[in-house]
Amino acid sequence: MSETKVEELVIISGKGGTGKTSITASFAVLAGFPVIADCDVDAADMHLILTPAVRERHEFWCGNEAVIRRADCIRCGKCLDLCRFGAIIPGGEGESYSVDPVACEGCGVCVRFCPAQAIDFPESLSGEWMVSETRCGPMVHARLGIAAENSGKLVSTVRREAKRLAEENGHRLVLVDGPPGIGCPVIASMTGASKALVVTEPTVSGEHDLERVLKLARHFDIPAAVCVNKWDLNPEMTGRIETLAIRSGARIAGRIRYDRAVTSAQIKKKAVVEIDAPSAEDIRRVWESLDLP
């Protein structure tokens, strides 16, 4: 028996709030039972539309955090000198030093060099990830702990599990809803994906951010397609963006009109293509142009 290859489409945007999640949710409905991976782990919203029933819940332990034992601290200040992340809080007169857990990057330098060996280094709980059932297919999603590190590693975990699920159960497509930006969690969302769809908007920011995110896609050698959401807000800018996209080596996947029904769908916990929305037709066309299983 030949193994079916699982395709992985990642939806990214550079700029936030361009409509990634609304479009991905619609794709989840249009695709034939895909696996959905919500990789925007620090502001995950897909579950608000796909209302998943959680089947498995896993703690995400990742990294360590320095903790100074008050009783053993000799207040020498070595940790303060060595910490490059500004995470050591010097105590006042007669008080021990302490670590700001929000600033600590878990490098362990203070732990290793404390002359009194007064610093513990417990593992930290950085969040949780879940496997759920939705009306469109299984979904892997996560929640990064409050002010926790390691969002990139949590994204990698979500993607790995989504892919495993797809392979084990014969799904041919994983839809990855990516985070905004171009940094660590975006890189973790897109490396090795089969295709990227960049959702942008016809604004100066959308144009600027698209250019950077397309460079990132090229850097990692991911074929990219671009779709301009709310295109009719500024038709001239839409044209400019599409020219830019083609010059940057991307394909045009289509335009989606400005549509207030997108918010109405969100309020009803529906994907745009599940309600009678004018832009649903545009989203269907974009989906078809991507030529995915």
Partner: protein, 282 residues
């Protein structure tokens, strides 16, 4: 006073609020664009560049003639950025956080640190507003060191507005830490509400007073307002869902320039921030 403008959800209007607030305060104010992955403030406050500095993080370089392959560096490194297999170690610069531990721990002094470029900090002047922005190089994963470099240029004697990246993770925390006040921008939609909740949890963790700006008022429902009322969170400003605002934004125009009837909104916002902070915040 240092005011950070943040949001859980992207695209709610952080940059809109930051640039219009900066213009309303006027000459002398500093605007720090800490969304170093996608800096946009300069598209609205054009001005001229007055300086640009390359930012680096220290990464290890191994002198193989001194290394005896003891592997201490690899055992210390928590990020797998330096790995030793009984010979001179391999360095993976993209994974390095620049903690300096490997150079400190090496018993033979075989590791020294050299700078690896991660981006630039540019300073611009726009009619007396000092815009300081970070721009992360493409392919670089870690934004926080660049955000810290942007913030190190802040003049504490003057008012500063910090435009944060979206989300609630490390780059946002690196931005808002040390602020006197955080403005959380949201929209009255289910996504806006959900991500506002996450952002509030994060801000409470770092204990900075905050208030909310509701953008696109009228576009969704009233759940954000009900939530703020129940949580005792002040709403500092409401910006209506006005297609003219979206169109002006699309062209890179400031709201207070393109639609002067909104100038009062941002004066009121500043007044509310001062008032709320002076009354002790929460």
């Amino acid at each position: 006073m240092i005011i950070s403008v943040a949001s859980g959800k992207g695209g709610t209007g952080k940059t809109t609020v930051s640039v219009n607030l900066a213009r309303t305060i006027g000459a002398g104010v500093q605007l720090l664009d800490c969304d170093v992955e996608e800096p946009n403030a300069h598209l609205f406050l054009k001005g001229r560049e007055i300086g640009s500095d390359i930012v680096t993080i220290p990464i290890p370089t191994v002198d193989e003639s001194l290394c005896d392959g003891c592997g201490e560096c690899g055992r210390l490194c928590r990020y797998h950025a330096i790995v030793s297999f009984g010979s001179a170690p391999l360095v993976f610069p993209d994974l390095c956080h620049g903690c300096g531990g490997c150079a400190l721990v090496c018993p033979r002094g075989a590791i020294r640190e050299t700078g690896k470029r991660i981006g630039v900090v540019e300073t611009r002047d726009a009619d007396g507003i000092t815009l300081i922005q970070g721009r992360l190089d493409i392919g670089v994963a870690m934004a926080p060191p660049l955000i810290r470099a942007v913030k190190s240029r802040l003049n504490r004697e003057k008012t500063a507005i910090l435009d944060a990246p979206p989300g609630t993770s490390c780059p946002v925390i690196a931005t808002v830490r040390g602020s006197d006040f955080v403005v959380l921008v949201t929209e009255p939609t289910p996504f806006g509400l959900h991500d506002l909740g996450l952002a509030i949890e994060m801000i409470r963790e770092i204990a900075v007073p905050f208030g909310v700006v509701v953008n696109r008022m009228g576009a969704g429902d009233d759940r954000v307002h009900r939530f703020c009322r129940d949580e005792g969170v002040p709403i500092l400003l409401e910006i209506p869902d006005d297609r003219r605002i979206a169109e002006a934004y699309s062209r890179g125009e400031l709201m207070v320039d393109a639609l002067p009837d909104y100038t009062d909104h941002f004066a009121t916002l500043m007044w509310n921030i001062r008032d709320f902070r002076n009354s002790g915040g929460k």
